[in-house]
Amino acid sequence: MSTATPSPQTTSLPEEPQRARRKVGLKTTVVYALAALVTLLAWVLDTPADARTTFQFGTSGDLVSIPDIDVPALGFLVVLLVVMLVATGFSVWRWRDRRPMPSWAHVVVGVAFVLAFLTFVGAGRSTVIPMVSLLAGALALSVPLVFGAMSGVICERSGIINIAIEGQLLSGAFMGAVVASAAGSAYLGLVAAPLAGALVGAGLAWFSVSFRVNQIIVGVVLNTLIIGLTGFLFSTVLSDNKELWNSRMPLPRLPIPLLSDIPVVGPVLFDQTILVYLMYALIFGLQFMLFRSRWGLRTRAVGEHPKAADTVGIKVNVRRVWNTILGGAIAGLGGAFFTVGSGLAFGREMSAGQGYIALAAMILGKWNPWGAVMAALLFGFSKNLGNVLSSIGSGVPSELLLMLPYVITILAVAGFVGRVRPPAAEGVPYTKS
């Protein structure tokens, strides 16, 4: 009959602006208001008017020595309180517009809250607040978290849930220590650690891909196995001949010329071991490769929609296996930080749950390398804050301070992440129907 009439209506319909009636909750406002309230009641009202707080920014090796910064505690606290109150008001305004808060606002409030706490702790004391060691320590504590989180990103982006990060860190720490000690070279330990992690990753891949066992169960079993195995070897072989198998082999610090002389930033970032520099390379490399390379595109396809990947000839399970092994190797390398990276001998269960925190960092970072790094730094900072405060002697019981990173983990994951979207095919074994 009549010929095809292209119907312009479908394409030229006036698209109305999206009327998203977002249900933005008051959660953010409540958290901000609580921060302000704590600042007011616990700290502002408790600080004498003439007390001063000293922040120390310099280190002994600086070319240009930076003087300590001395602030009137009460005045500074009030300024920080005002910042938090303004942010609270801002969030109410955004809420009425049904718009969520931008993430920089969280950072501002977080920094203000931490500064207020430090100001209060240092008020009227002779001790200074050592900012450089606070930050450097935070970075150090973040290193295994970052490696673990990068491992998680690689595995989960390709669809395998890697709960075994903990085991991979621990096996890396063990193997790094033993090989470094036996061979007499910290660098050889650094080569052995990823191999151990890769082995654990291979186990995870084997069970989850070939036998389609629940990946969380395999991961937990592997963790338990590694804890048991390293613990057993530690109390038998390693303690029988401590000199040979488990002597301390610290990696040397390699300060980068010029960069390491920058005040504050230099000693924190650029006076580190090769392991930390490898970490920097890994972060940038992974961020780039994941989103800009053929490997990354295929990896993400396999984790989001394996069947689609299969129909264009990508071997889904092969890719998952190799990525899981790669992820294991990266976590293993991170584990070396516990031993050769910090100049310690191996100790029983020395990873102490960092693998799980790394997993939380990955989720908080929304499966993005960069986000995961930020989250890992947050956790590292909160842990180190606890350490520094107990050494200053803040009056807060040290047991409570030890809880700090975990409290922050829970608050961060529950409060600020909101709805995150994991890779769609994560944890689902792929079989051709």
């Binding site: 009549s2 209506q9 479908t10 009636r21 390379s293 595109l297 295929r298 990947a309 990508i314």
Partner: protein
């Protein structure tokens, strides 16, 4: 390229999905593969695409045999496939999706995305697709996603393009657009294998038609055959294509929805301030493309979805705030859209599934225990009444065919005295015989004076069943029309099609008078509305996705 399939056989366990199928596709022809759901069309195409290994038979390309170990082989031989459930990664851009698997790369495997974008633009411009290479897949309407799939195939130089149920998720206008594209591809020399069960489309565009029934080729048909002829060939017996029903005798409006809105947790408005009523003894069909708020509307009526605002009243009493059980027992019958996951518990027996609603009441329950004899007796009575074919009522319901399982759902939901019947996609995936049965029961319920709401994405079903039609688009009711005008003529399907794309009633009438769509044209000289042989239109996108399948199929789909 000439494609021949010779004696293709594929067996799954005891099921012979393809039994020595022969098929010849000439270069540059549109070859329709027609058959009911489960006839073996998709299996055959998956064999051709290298996803399944055939148990017997061979594939010839231009006369020489070819074996495909995987889709990669098929693609390099020049075969492209657009799957019914799109094989697109929702979070990728169009360029990334097209590049995947065949990435243009520079040193170190770094993607050259500019090259990928250029490819997309080139093909898109050639066929007038209007696809932005940088758009994210999940933000695109399904019709555009389908074009991305076609671009994917063409960018790999497909000479034979397989389209598996391509119109299942499209509006009538998008279908017209697809038909235009198919004709242009044909002009440029691409052969197209078009898998469908929709008779109207086959007649509109196919050059040749091969009909498959129960895994075997039952014949070839010419596009000039009538729909009745095609249907008989497809089903294997003569079928009635019309729903026999008397004019409705509607009474008072007993079911009313007022200013109802449903907002998803992420803020997307799924149902947007809609109001309508249904009178006793009439069927109101809610038409629209999948994912425009119909599912949520039905779920609000039953109480498994919370509305944001508005009211829902049955016989004057407000339903909101009442529990699902209370609503069911006060006389709402509900046939859910997804029978296998929401309609039955597939590991339970037929008898148990028949008392899912009343299992804890007399006579099925005695205190804390159940009375198996009563449950069995009930099952035997209901299955008799609803003509369910089974071996034993104690067999798991998963052993039943789709049609029989749906009859079980109907038998359960219609066994209570009803004050309202809500049925979503009641004939999806059913064979023609079951469709006739379901439609008869629905009409019978109407004739008993029950208000009935049918949610359907299938225009033919809507036209066959409805007394009034409400068209939904992006959560709103575009308009409500009587199924028959004052002169007794049925409402123009082009008008409905335009309304399904969001065009208001009056504009739709004007535009429909100016243009004839391809399928509307096929209407002329037609043998009237027919019951829909409805396909699986469930997922607007790929399987294994966490997406709520009922989010509007539009740019609002994801936050």
């Amino acid at each position: 390229m000439k494609l021949e399939l010779q004696g293709i056989t594929k067996v799954f366990g005891s099921l012979v999905a393809n039994d020595h199928i022969d098929l010849v596709v000439e270069p540059g022809e549109i070859h329709a593969l027609l058959g009911e759901n489960g006839a073996g069309k998709s299996t055959l195409m998956n064999v051709l695409y290298g996803l399944y290994d055939p148990d017997d038979g061979q594939i010839l390309l231009d006369g020489s045999p070819a074996t495909f170990k995987g889709p990669g082989d098929a693609v390099s031989a020049g075969i492209g496939m657009v799957h019914q459930h799109f094989m697109l990664v929702p979070v990728f851009t169009v360029a990334e999706s097209v590049a995947l698997g065949y990435e243009p790369t520079g040193a170190g495997g770094v993607l050259r995305l500019e090259e990928a974008r250029r490819r997309v633009r080139e093909i898109s411009d050639r066929f007038g697709f209007q696809v932005d290479p940088d758009a994210r897949i999940e933000d695109l309407p399904v019709g555009v996603q389908q074009r991305v799939e076609i671009i994917k195939a063409l960018s790999r130089d497909a000479q034979v393009l397989i389209l598996d149920e391509p119109t299942a998720v499209l509006t009538p206008q998008e279908t017209d657009e697809l038909i235009r594209i198919m004709r242009e591809l044909k002009e440029s020399g691409t052969s197209i294998v078009f898998i469908t069960h929709k008779l109207r489309e086959v007649r509109a565009i196919a050059d040749r038609i091969t009909v498959i029934r129960r895994g075997t080729v039952v014949g070839e048909a010419s596009p000039t055959s009538t729909e009745t002829e095609l249907a008989s060939l497809m089903v294997g017996r003569s079928v009635s294509l019309t729903v026999d029903k008397e004019p409705a005798q509607p009474g008072e409006a007993t079911f009313e929805v007022e200013n109802l809105s449903v907002v998803a947790p992420n803020g997307t408005v799924l149902v947007d301030d809609i109001s309508f009523d249904v009178r006793a003894g009439e069927i109101l069909c809610v038409a629209g493309v999948q994912g425009n708020g119909q599912t949520e509307l039905a779920e609000v009526i039953l109480g498994i979805e919370e509305p944001d605002s508005g009211s829902v009243r049955l016989d004057g009493e407000d339903l909101l705030g009442k529990g699902v059980k209370e609503r069911l027992r006060s006389g709402i019958g509900f046939v859910p859209e997804d029978r296998s996951t929401d309609g039955v518990v597939s590991s339970f027996s037929i008898a148990e599934n028949l008392v899912l609603d009343l299992y804890d009441t007399q006579p099925f329950a005695r205190g804390v225990s159940m009375s198996p004899a009563k449950v069995t007796a009930n099952a035997e009575q209901r299955t008799e009444e609803f003509d369910v074919r089974y071996t034993s009522v104690h067999d798991p319901i998963s052993t039943l065919s789709g049609g029989n399982a749906q009859k079980v759902v109907l038998a359960r939901e219609m066994s209570r005295p009803l004050r309202l019947l809500v049925a979503s996609q009641p004939t999806r995936g059913l064979d023609v015989g079951s469709i006739e049965f379901v439609h008869r029961r629905v009409v019978a319920e109407r004739d008993r004076g029950t208000p009935v709401i049918i949610v359907s994405t299938e225009l033919d079903e809507v036209l066959g069943l409805a007394d009034r039609i409400a068209v939904m688009y992006r959560g709103r009711i575009v308009g409500i029309v009587d199924a028959k005008g004052e002169d007794g003529a049925p409402v123009n399907r082009d008008v409905l099609g335009l309304m399904m794309a969001g065009v208001p009633l009056e504009d739709a009438q004007r535009q429909a008078a100016e243009h004839h769509s391809v399928l509307g044209a096929a209407d002329l000289g037609d043998d009237g509305p027919r019951p829909a042989a409805e396909g699986e239109t469930r997922h607007t996108s790929a399987e294994g996705e966490t997406r709520h399948t009922s989010a509007p199929a539009s740019t609002e789909e994801r936050p």
